[in-house]
Subunit: 235 residues, 2 copies
DNA sequence: CGGGTTATTGAGGGGCGTCAACAACCGTGG
DNA sequence: CCACGGTTGTTGACGCCCCTCAATAACCCG
């Protein structure tokens, strides 16, 4: 967990959710105020229910957004990747509604609420971008609800795999990637059990849709996979 | 669908999501600009995918928020009641992400985007309240995701019934209420089938938790019902 | 190498979706 | 007013999907 500060001006994140239109003065302001933290694999970043006096931006790596669900069972709402924002939606009592945990080694930029709020106060476009990001989250959750309610296990797992692959960079160059997610994690993402995940992934392998062995995953037939998870735009 | 304008100053909605802290000048501004519309039972108000040049506030009645889900099957995300806002979250192409349909006769106040945006522009507290309302929606959707992913049918239907009753005024005075929702609607809310809803409601009747006959519904044992839907805060 | 975690695979059974038949309800028109 | 057809609700039978349990294999890290 090193703390080397990376300047916003050399930030390699091209698709940033809320600083897309920020002008130079703005970046300058933020650049001086933020801190950068690197989290290790499986290291918790935000705890559901805790208070947090600022906002995180993912700079590198991948993290999972999850909640403690019914009877304590975890549910992974989504994976987040560079450019995504986190911790910006505390509830009325200023508590975080979700947990965030690093999946791969993950670099985070942190801005204190004071600075963040001041920024929003002063910029119409920043407010606009924040609202757009939140809308995006709502839309995504809406899709999750549909998936969980109406898909069968096979379809849900196909969707989960596609979501995972989309979260990893270079996912479509035909190379196998190593995902640091257990079968249980995939199950918690798809809304099923780890055994079903094992069996279904094995099925997908036999059908030549993917090549999967343990945590190494390679997509072979993207088209067919999307057909199974017949899920247009989104998640 | 009459269009008589009701003044904000005599508005009977006590728990309004975004005008709670609005001062008098503010109400005065809005009062002149808004229009009021009454929708009949089952009448559509907002179409998913359509464009809408303003924002609705429910003034009276009940409406369902629903989406076209997987393979066209509907999913009801939630019921909304007086004080709730709607249509305020168009996506990037200015399209509505959800449909809204009147369940009971429903009175709506409509404000054009131009006025609404101007209001937000000018008021920190209005922005705050809008953001809070959106956060609330996110939290609620999060709960829905957990329900749909992790509860069994009995639990989901118990949750759905409690949600319905909470949406109706005077739900806890021990009187039967008439809900204009079909078994299919309840199924689309709970994430199951109409037959399961019929059977489970029948079970709940035998267990003396509710008295239900057709669309008349009376809650007998709230405590026990909540235990089944063991679902603390929220939905 | 060894012990603990994780993954795989199969067997078993129950929950729940599907189908079907019947009953109840509701608005319409004769 | 009753007849009637269409929609909605109820109930049971059936069967399959998928959860659970368990045993074995593979993997990972010290």
């Amino acid at each position: 967990m090193n703390n080397e500060i990376k300047s916003c001006f050399i930030c390699n994140v091209t698709e940033c959710s809320i600083f897309k239109k920020s002008n130079l003065e703005f970046l300058k302001l933020i650049d001086g105020k933020k801190t950068c933290i690197t989290y290790n694999k499986n290291q918790p970043i935000i705890f559901e229910g805790s208070r947090l006096d600022g906002v995180y931006m993912i700079n590198s790596g991948i993290a999972k957004v999850h909640v403690k669900g019914y009877k304590g069972r975890p549910l992974i709402l989504r994976l987040i990747k560079p450019g995504d924002i986190s911790g910006h939606l505390p509830d009325g009592q200023n508590r975080q509604p979700v947990s965030v945990t690093a999946v791969e080694e993950t670099g985070m930029c942190f801005i204190e609420n004071k600075e963040f709020d001041a920024m929003l106060e002063n910029s119409v476009s920043a407010r606009q971008e924040l609202m757009d990001a939140v809308k995006q989250e709502l839309k995504q959750l809406e899709m999750r609800a549909i998936q969980l309610a109406q898909m069968n296990v096979r379809e849900k797992i196909a969707s989960a795999i596609l979501h995972i692959l989309k979260s990893y960079p270079n996912n479509n160059n035909g190379k196998a990637i190593h995902i640091n997610l257990s079968r249980q994690d995939i199950a918690d993402l798809a809304g099923t059990t780890k055994e079903q995940v094992s069996k279904t992934i094995s099925d997908f392998g036999k059908e030549n849709l993917i090549e999967a062995k343990g945590r190494s995953l390679k997509l072979i037939d993207y088209k067919k996979m999307e057909t199974i998870a017949d899920f247009y735009k989104g998640f």
